[in-house]
Subunit: 635 residues, 2 copies
Amino acid sequence: MWKQNIMFLRQTYAFRNYQTVFKSLFNTTEVQWRIHKASFCSLRKYLDITSKVPTLFSTRRLHDQKELLNQGQYEQNCNTFTFRTHTCGELRPSHTGKKVTLCGWVQYHRLSKFLLLRDAYGLTQCIVSENSTLPNIPLETVVKIEGTLQLRPKDMINSNMPTGEVEVLIENLEVLNMVEKLPFNLRDYQKPKEQLRLQHRYIDLRFPEMQSNLRKRSHMLHNMRRFLVESHGFVEVETPTLFCRTPGGAREFVVPTRHSGLFYSLVQSPQQFKQMLMVGGVDRYFQVARCYRDETTRPDRQPEFTQLDIEMSFTNLDGLLSLMENLLYETFIKDLPKPPFRRMTYKDALENYGTDKPNLTYGLQFVNIKHLLGEKSTNPDFAAYALPYSSKLGRLTTKTKNTIRELTKKYQVKVVVNENISKEFGFELFDKIQINKEDSCIVSMGDNENACLCLGEIRELLASLLRSKDLLVVEDNVQPLWVVDFPLFVKGENGLETCHHPFTAPHPDDIHLLDSEPLKVRSLAYDIVMNGNEVGGGSVRIHNVELQEKILKMLNISPDSLSHFLNALKSGCPPHAGLALGIDRLVSLACNAESIREVIAFPKSHEGKDPLSGAPNVITEDDKAYYHINTVENV
Amino acid sequence: MWKQNIMFLRQTYAFRNYQTVFKSLFNTTEVQWRIHKASFCSLRKYLDITSKVPTLFSTRRLHDQKELLNQGQYEQNCNTFTFRTHTCGELRPSHTGKKVTLCGWVQYHRLSKFLLLRDAYGLTQCIVSENSTLPNIPLETVVKIEGTLQLRPKDMINSNMPTGEVEVLIENLEVLNMVEKLPFNLRDYQKPKEQLRLQHRYIDLRFPEMQSNLRKRSHMLHNMRRFLVESHGFVEVETPTLFCRTPGGAREFVVPTRHSGLFYSLVQSPQQFKQMLMVGGVDRYFQVARCYRDETTRPDRQPEFTQLDIEMSFTNLDGLLSLMENLLYETFIKDLPKPPFRRMTYKDALENYGTDKPNLTYGLQFVNIKHLLGEKSTNPDFAAYALPYSSKLGRLTTKTKNTIRELTKKYQVKVVVNENISKEFGFELFDKIQINKEDSCIVSMGDNENACLCLGEIRELLASLLRSKDLLVVEDNVQPLWVVDFPLFVKGENGLETCHHPFTAPHPDDIHLLDSEPLKVRSLAYDIVMNGNEVGGGSVRIHNVELQEKILKMLNISPDSLSHFLNALKSGCPPHAGLALGIDRLVSLACNAESIREVIAFPKSHEGKDPLSGAPNVITEDDKAYYHINTVENV
């Protein structure tokens, strides 16, 4: 029996798929998943749930789950303007006797009698009449089936499948397009390697997770637009992507033109445009904007990405944060806590979690032990933090210790692991810094910021170790957090550099320090962090031209490169603030996706390569001549 | 009195502005405008209407005008998350006694007592109390005003201004940002030259027409999204813009990468991606897509532009056209005739109007006179068409005749103007081809297609001459028209070229002619034309890989450059069709804008130059080295 179940399971979806789909369906975490798993008594159960997968496709689902914008369900009709009368997901006993036309892909057939037809909305069983047999067509062939809906015999009802009570008696089957052998199988969810999936993305998109992810993405963006346009009077304005270089930003792609030696730059964000819109009186702007950064060497980055870009006039930090909190609360697919969201200063984030994007779904908070360290405690540049954790984890493995050793080198700090604590500090100190007797502890000491950052990385390392042994309580929900009061400047190789971008307003309480102690000046920049991911960031902007010129000078940026922008500030620029949300990251959090590539229809793989078309490619000599360029080899 | 009125008028908006705004406000044409103009008895009247301009800003207006999607009005609040309590357009007598805070630009002040405050939503009069005076602040300064709303004295009420019954008694006025002298004046609408407007677009955007255009654009796109997502289950999918070269299309911008000699191409449309989405089961796709074409030498073109890109599986030509008709009928800002829209074959369009995008808001239809021309009528390559028009136009000027002479050279055909008709054909023929006695006539003869195209250009020339003398009845409404049955191929320099794109399906009735007479094969391509503008186009696509390979071969396109696409067609591709609407053109028609630049926030000027930032610019040697390119001078 068990073996039979396994076989049957293979014929539909594999266990691994069920696990992933289950999690996204019910928004469960690893922990909850284990509880559910334990409560099921047989593999057969998994299968039953699995056959519910197609309901995920229903675009109405988001609105069932959460009455977004109090609009209730849409009265969508997915069959208008097509050959079909119904999708493969919607037929029910109430349709019995109806002539129906379905179109889709052959998911499965058996005994030349039964056929399971799939489209983006679900699966429907189709059968031929007693004296007929099905033609021998390859799986994934595209067919149109005309027939009459009938009830299944009682013992054939699959009550866990939305269309499980009915079947279509085939009267006409038309092959719309044959298939050749596919590079991977769609029935068994033995997920192929990512490279193969991306190379044949047009097949990979048929998997239920990809269908669900793309539809969730479309819905979340649509609901964000409804919130902004319909409830709050925002205007979506499209701004150019072919522009001039932004000084002091990330590396920007260049685009040669037919004017010899002249290039556009692809914008890394609509920053300058949206600020100029504020000057132009478009006081509530947003855009779902395509942005470009040539950062293809960094993992999990795309050369082009999408951000929800927002800017508002006559507001301040609190106003902007409140807007975003309400937007996310109303439109994020998963439940979020009611606004206002928690806020934390950059300083507190660093000194308690060792990062500017702390994951607050678990504890593991630092304890400042500097005051316990005698003489050293008077050194203003010295810091010492302890990180207590469950001693049930036991001694750290050699591998873990090696990783920690590398971190101490990277940050040039000293780290003391649990077993060396008493040796290093004496038993008394060990006693004082323990939160409770069951905890072990790691200490990081050294230069202020580095001591924190090093312990921050160790915190994440420990969290994953503790999690793998069920020794860490991890909250289920998404925990949004504002990180505020970032420094305005950081020390760069050639003097001051901007921490956010050159248009960020200094904190009004620190503005008197601009000349004397610029590195102590906080800014009005803010990041929104979800479970350890920075999903957006923004700032109150400088609207005074003298202040802007001063900041540019401090950053050693020539005002000539921004003369148009400075002129705009002189022409009646209102106070304004804004933010950009990283949609790829935000949707991947909402979909529990492992990578942003899972929520992008056609992503590039590492190094910005497109496995589908092979782009980037060589271009013709004619194109090079037209654009007055030559390829040169550099060392 | 008259002089005073003129003066006062100058202080608000000039006459020219009123005319334009009036037209867009009431969707009138030139003709209607003249009627309205005549019905007004004094210049003062113009002014009163002008003060209504701010209602244009109300984002609710579109929904007042046309109950789009039967949703009624949104309950928008444009003040949330800001300092202000109200916009400058919404205060009414019912607010009397309320403490209000307004933010905006100083539009006008008088006698150090009155101040007219403007924001994107309207104008509100603010006054200081008896013993106070206003500070002397430059116009266009950004201020925040706190005060109490009071009724204006009865004799001061301006009943034509939405806020004309009330005024704000200023209790506190805070200057938020001072301005320097602006390059052009915003109070008098003496429209500056376009170059100056584009160079200071951040000021130009404050003009009511630009505000109205951008808001109409945002609303139309939002309503299109609502129609597609909420009523018809479409999914918006974002596709890459960094891709590989599309063979046989327009010139594509190239983007060098850090891989020496390898380039992306910026997509000219998401064509391949949307077809691959169909293969992937995303059966109802749309995207408001940014597209790129390096056609900057053509007038009224932008290097980047927006299209509403749509594709649908399991449909045919009728299904797709019906979808688009309903979409446009529901969401186009002006009224359209009820679907179905008129259809015309490419052949009929050419033989009756001499163009594939005929303007049907006026008559001026060709008469085929070939059968009257004796011997020549037996020559299959010869064509002769007459164009009758009102003889009240009189003899054509030398300038017009010169233009016509150039057209005959361009098309290599013979054109006979009215006064030479009898000399050329004899009086009998002249008699026969006249529609009525009051008409004059022009004849074009020569090679089939060229005779039509030449007369088509003459038709447009005559229309504008007749219009300028009120001799042509021009329909008021937008007249949408489908042009269908385009040829699949055109004769190019090196053999067959595609008329639409290589993925267009041949007409099933002509498929037997593919080998024998390919130039006679019609395609399943279609264009949507509005008042002489092509606003969109699309086709039923080829879904059969053998047919696609055959067409590519006929077009001399190497299948290697499209191997990923051909593989997709082999992997279970459903029948599908699609279309792309040119949003810039569509919105400019809806806004009665003279150019697409009037509905784009930051357009490029001719030759793709950005007058604002000066882009394209020189780039650094570092950037060139990073991208392995060198600038070369070509002859």
